[in-house]
Homo-oligomer: 423 residues x 2
């Protein structure tokens, strides 16, 4: 195969016509496939079914607490200890809550707006302008929170070792810049792991805003599917050592360990932040679902138990990622019309089409019956400046469907690229 950039005009026309024919054949299959969201597949969900009938012994008391009743706003101690072990933080730094870490992230931002954070002079709702740093490509739901509160989002390019820290360090000199979103391990969607140097630079930020907050969404902290668990710096310790212990909130959940629809989420922060946030959260709820926390403790136990469980996910996930990559490697790489990363964990493959081809590729796929995350969704305001990034989520479809969807993807990439080059 020849690279498209090296083709003559007539070669390109033949190429496009062949791709168009291929595409019509795809459409004729009347597919209905979904690669849009990072949802675990049924096989993965089944891995945790036995948790649902725990406890087996009819005992509902743990840590001296009847988990069925009210109380213990910050969760049962055993569950806090489990997350502390997983994240490498202290038990006292963990708040175990309900099923959604997104809810906790929203809560921290919402409380910044209504009450202010620990070091705020004033609630953010009283400020004329609040800016937030958004490494991108990134997680669309982080950006949705910013938009919901009317923040001004500043796009920060994401490199192989994390956010462009030169830019971050420049922007935090502006006191209106109040925080940054980070998915530090297997970033959504690029699967990048922040380097130790990047983590150190983040922890050592000296923002003009004294209530600047690092929103450390460690969603994929134990989510390797290729190779062993990768140890990772604990951001709370890093910030403490840098003299800014209260600058970070870390988030995690079991959504992709047990069940997205019935997991346990937590946040971790300094004990000063914890005391402050608990005072605010005490007005919001009496306690979160401790029964579910208890089930998780019985099922996962600790980091070792969780990592053992994650190997079962890995065995299901790796072939799916391999299937997508194999299609791209075979059909697209020789043409030079797209690039992609090869993550060893997380939930996504981040694909970069030729500039100006992401939306068209997405549209072609949709018309062929394959749903993908919207082109642009990985950027603030849904606007990808190069119209290049597409997020592929291989986890949900069964592998045969995924192969079919990958074939459609390759066909659409070819057609979109040829169309673009032919103007």
């Amino acid at each position: 195969m020849k690279r498209l950039s090296e083709m003559t005009q007539s070669e390109l026309i033949s190429f496009r016509d062949a791709a168009a024919k291929e595409y019509e054949a795809c459409k004729a299959k009347n597919l209905k496939l979904d690669m849009s969201r990072g949802k675990p597949g049924t096989e993965q969900l089944n891995l945790s079914n036995e948790m649902l009938s725990l406890p087996k012994d009819g005992n509902f008391v743990i840590d001296g607490i009847d988990v069925r009743n009210y109380g213990n706003l910050d969760g049962i101690p055993s569950c806090r200890a489990m997350f502390a072990d997983i994240l490498g933080v202290k038990k006292e730094e963990v708040f175990a809550a309900g099923s959604a870490s997104l809810n906790l992230m929203y809560d921290v931002i919402a409380k910044a707006y209504t009450h202010g954070l620990l070091h705020s002079d004033t609630p953010w709702s009283k400020l004329d302008k609040v800016k937030f740093l958004c490494p991108a490509p990134g997680y669309d739901r982080h950006f949705t929170i910013c938009e919901s509160f009317g923040m001004e989002m500043i796009t920060i390019p994401l490199n192989d070792d994390g956010p462009d820290m030169d830019l971050v360090e420049k922007y935090v000199k502006d006191a209106a810049v109040k925080g940054i979103w980070c998915v530090p391990k297997y970033s959504n969607p690029d699967g990048v792991i922040y380097s130790d140097a990047t983590v150190a630079r983040i922890a050592n930020l000296k923002p003009a805003a004294k209530d600047f907050v690092i929103m450390w969404d460690n969603a994929y902290c134990v989510h390797e599917f290729d190779g062993p668990f990768v140890p990772f710096k604990d951001i709370l310790t890093e910030c403490r050592n840098a003299g800014s212990p209260d600058m970070v909130y870390e988030f995690a959940s079991t959504s992709k360990i047990t069940f997205p629809g019935a997991g346990v989420a937590c946040f971790a922060c300094s004990e000063a932040n914890m005391a402050y946030m608990k005072t605010l959260l005490n007005a919001e709820t009496i306690s979160y679902d401790k029964m579910n926390q208890y089930r998780h403790v019985l099922f996962l136990r600790d980091r070792a138990g969780t990592l053992a469980h994650m190997q079962k996910h890995a065995a299901i996930m790796k072939p799916k990622f391999d299937a997508v990559l194999a299609a791209l490697d075979t059909k697209i790489a020789p043409l030079g019309i797209a690039t992609w990363r090869r993550p060893k964990g997380g939930y996504f493959i981040s694909l970069y089409t030729m500039d100006g081809c992401a939306k068209r590729t997405h549209q072609l796929m949709k018309e062929a019956g394959v749903v993908m995350t919207g082109a642009g969704a990985t950027y603030p305001y849904g606007k990808d400046p190069k119209d290049s990034n597409l997020r592929i989520a291989p986890s949900l479809p069964p592998i045969e469907e995924l192969r079919a969807a990958s074939d459609v993807l390759c066909t659409c990439l070819k057609l979109a690229a040829a169309e673009k080059l032919l103007g």
Copy 2:
């Protein structure tokens, strides 16, 4: 026995000395009893244990939805339908969420502050003053939400048929008055059921604030423990008929049907409010715990199933309420030093001491090892103008402990009253 008000000075002194001796005897028992919060007792929790191993058949799909996975922000349709049946509203008007209705109430107020409600001109955080009507005695956690947001609370006396509506109708003429808290059935703590006339007047309010909100906390909607289910007006229909369909949010939960620590909560509102609130909630979370919603649907099914289950609670609750009332009837009524209501549902007995005796009674009980809700907690800012109301929560202690605690209560009431009368 003679009424204390009819005693001579020397009779009073003898009475006080006898009460003081009785009190010392109480203290000598080194009791550790808790009548402070409306927590179900262990026997009640056990009523729902079998729900925890549902489903038995390994089927996790209901309404075409795998409850273990992400999705369905507003809950599974079957769970929405169950709550709709219980509350007498339409399925489309119900949003089924996580375990805590308090969280949903907080959320509505928080969103009023950060984004405004459907008919708000501006988010409440931009206003100089927000006032809220607080029928009292009332639920301390409602007042805590108001305090957390810095609202000015206006106390509305609670009568036998609900809030003093003359006052309510007067206050809503002030555009700074943005809402009212209501616990319409078995009010916390008085156990009052709002009359149909009161409900009609509430629904027909014409507040100056067009984003005025009725916070209808129907916490005890099916919580009769003495006699059959009492049918109750559906506030959504009442408001719709009055031409103000968007003026109310209703809240309910299974906290005191199944488990306080692992129930399902919901809110109900007009479809216009629902569409608005879902747009805001979509930024906050992907979905709530649908697995737990599913368990509840399998266990409770509908209103009939729920009412049948509530009869089991009633069989446990009634003897506990009777025990407290028997002590008060025998030992306190003849003395004329306190009054109380005799609720047929809900979780509390509301006790009115002689003016100026609630705090002292509470203190005496505490020193004798019996924890009660703080005196004053049932009023905005924790300030009971008459220092008279005490909230008794009989559900948690086993009945023998409850009898012991009731005896201590009677002794403390006598001692506090005698001290007061003797100056």
